[in-house]
Symmetry: C3
Subunit: 189 residues, 3 copies
């Protein structure tokens, strides 16, 4: 290969690298600090659809005018509020022994795409940790990895704060989804 072609490839590579790095660190953002504690957990949501009372871990409890409580609302489920009590596991297997419960609500809050607002707690009770972690935040569901706030905690998470990164790890129709939550604490006490 001629030297000029090589140089060209290097330039293109550098250009692509600069694009990718500028999106990864927009506006010269400073490096994130190291977490003082980190936890990766999974939780599993099976929404009630009128026929799965035994298995369901969540239920639609509010809906906009015209919608009902056994089918998620049209228009990207805008206006639905679901209450959930989901098992938390250490791996991605719904049937693994739960280490706690994820409890609270999610709210579908856009009419032209899938987004949610989350307010919930993890109540953990296993060998490694006992205590609760409290979360709120916007969840743009279709984005691969999205961040919400860890606004407080109790027990082993006394006064903790941090950021949790949520990834949809599985999604089966409109009945089951599994979220992988990577919780990074930056204030640990």
């Amino acid at each position: 290969m001629a030297s000029s072609a090589k140089n060209c490839i290097i330039l293109v590579a550098l250009f692509l690298f600069s694009i990718s790095s500028s999106s990864a660190f927009p506006m010269g953002k400073k490096q994130r600090p190291k977490p003082c504690k980190e936890l990766v957990l999974y939780f599993h949501d099976i929404i009630y659809n009128g026929n799965n009372a035994g298995n369901a871990t969540s239920a639609i409890v509010a809906a906009p005018h015209g919608a009902n409580l056994t089918i998620l609302a049209p228009q990207f489920h805008f206006g639905n509020i679901a209450v959930f009590d989901d098992p938390i596991t250490l791996d991605n297997n719904l049937h693994s022994k739960p280490v706690g419960r994820a409890q609270g609500l999610y709210i579908y809050d856009t009419k032209n795409t899938f987004t949610a607002w989350l307010g919930f707690s993890f109540s953990l009770n296993y060998t490694a940790y006992k205590g609760t972690i409290n979360f709120i935040g916007a969840d743009p569901i279709l984005v691969k990895a999205r961040d919400i706030s860890v606004v407080g905690g109790t027990g082993d998470f006394f006064m903790h704060r941090g950021v949790a990164t949520i990834v949809t790890d599985a999604f089966e129709g409109e009945v089951y989804f599994r979220l992988r939550v990577d919780i990074k604490f930056y204030e640990c006490w």
Copy 2:
């Protein structure tokens, strides 16, 4: 008593002490810091049941499929959302002069026991304090003392954070309950 018997008793005592202290301070947890401010308050909730519009301070506003808004849902009230505007008092008397209002929502979120998720604020307005305190957290109702997060505040509680311990101080059927809230702030500004 023989010396070996004495030693045995001491060993058993030490053993029992180590069990009790290990459950009180699991995993060698460090001592909690001293709060920079502490407040003990009571709030009183009278839920609307179709016949007490005059007295009621809260109302069921969402329920799962098949339930209604004047009776808490079967299955441990799973899926009910109640909105409340409860008087806050300095002592445990519903008829004491209120020092503020507890306002927000509670959500029953388990199908096989009584637990709730709380999102609410205290708006205080009396001689000692003027300002708001914002809470979220999991409330395992049947546990005697349970902790939720104080995630922020305004006025005299500007930027405060802490932990609040809730105790059910009275419970009359499914209409009235009174909570004692011991608010410990650890960040005071």
Copy 3:
């Protein structure tokens, strides 16, 4: 003017000054710190009333017994929960290019005046900022300026905390309102 009259005026002035300053800074409260970041934004809410599906940005999704989902409830809307997806703008013009979305819920929570409880997020995506800001707090709607808590953030608002002052900037019947939000961050990371 005699010297004693002059002294009297000075005393009265000092007295009035001490009253006004004691209400502005009750109980010798220390001066607020300077924010490390500040943002002033507007958001616009058009509530669904049965006839404005195209324009509406929010919907009533829960209501107390006897009320419905196309008209805000009697008794100061007590018990209504609205889910919203409101455009955020840099100025007070509904038709300005949005810089993000305000998403979450508001809950009317008093039977004898207008107050709300807010749980929502700003998702910002424009030249200056990309990231989310998470809010909760009590909103005594009829008070000119009221403070809620900024409990966390992500992206450019990673781990931020602060206080947001809300002012109702416009209010048209029960269909449109516009809020001016002055967000002051005191923890910036």
